[in-house]
Symmetry: C2
Subunit: 206 residues, 2 copies
């Protein structure tokens, strides 16, 4: 398999999960500074022009929520999700879907406001509001969603690399991570995991 | 089970899926015109203050992507997803995650710009751009994602009610649905399904 990623992007979540699963794959860097994600070669892989994209022998998968569930189901021995329990599995998917459709989206307004507006004044407005929106998201995660010690409780799941990936953006978004002690402690423990170290090293952050 | 929904919201996707599955549930209307989704009673059900929320005997599930997968897994006889095939299941989840985190998000900028900005000029800017962003999303669905006759091909899945639900917003977002013949034909065929008729009737649109 091949995982297309950009350093500092949300693709890190899928990258870590593949490492946790012991999957055989090659990580291929997409250079966002040269806009490679919008070039014809990459658009043939993923017409959305986004990362992550996971190339398998069956075809290409996109979207972290889907790739993470795929890794958990494809490598059941890694115990990355409660596969035999539809309710518990849905809780995992609900957490990850919240990260994808609310938290990541809030973050994107800091730098990619052009997706939804045209005027510089709108981009400035969005950027000003970013600490408030990201802070509100992580307040909800800390207060109402995070079970501890891992996101879903005693068992490490595909929620953990995704939360870690997005929590790493807090400082850059003007939010003090110390406001969220459980999430902050989680992040510290994630750095100690071998799979996280391998993924970060591959992405040039070792 | 109880499904909390608001008429005209994305909760219709989960509502239709529950009808398709033959699930026993009660649909409970949340009155957005009275801001009920932000009142303490509802925030106890879903601290996010959003719909859908599905109350089960195990607890509450939120997020369409998760509820739809739950319905498919909990009612396997309804054949609403390729449950035994991790790759095919991930394709279903990828499609639904795109709807949740890109298409629904694009739509939300038309009326709920206050989530990401503060100034009226930004809201006006977002609203102006809405036909372009929603049009681009549906162009990609039509051109690169929709297999036909159903979203995933020959088999009706949990992708179909979700696409139908969001495609119903096109006119209101200033996009001519006739630009997307496959999606438009899909929507016409969806209206003919008994489960869709029942869900729409329950929501007062029968």
């Amino acid at each position: 398999m091949k995982l297309f990623y950009g350093p500092g992007t949300c693709a890190l979540a899928s990258h870590i999960a593949l490492q946790e699963a012991g999957a055989e794959f090659t990580a291929i860097r997409v250079d966002f500074s040269r806009n490679e994600q919008r070039q014809p070669d990459y658009l043939q892989v993923n017409p959305k022009g986004r990362v992550p994209a996971l190339v398998t022998d069956r075809g290409v998968l996109t979207e972290n929520v889907a790739i993470l569930a795929f890794v958990a189901q494809r490598y059941p021995a890694a115990n990355l999700a409660p596969l035999g329990d539809p309710f518990a599995f849905a809780q995992v998917q609900a957490f990850n879907s919240y990260l994808a459709s609310t938290v990541h989206v809030a973050h994107a307004h800091g730098r990619r406001g052009y997706r939804w507006a045209d005027d510089q004044s709108s981009f400035d407005d969005m950027k000003r509001k970013l600490p408030e929106t990201m802070g509100a998201c992580f307040d909800l995660v800390e207060r109402a969603m995070f079970k501890g010690p891992w996101v879903m409780g005693e068992a490490y799941t595909i929620c953990d690399p995704y939360l870690f990936t997005i929590a790493e953006w807090l400082e850059g978004d003007g939010v003090d991570p110390a406001r969220f002690p459980k999430v902050h402690d989680h992040r510290t423990r994630m750095y100690e995991r071998a799979a996280v170290k391998r993924a970060l090293a591959t992405e040039g952050r070792g």
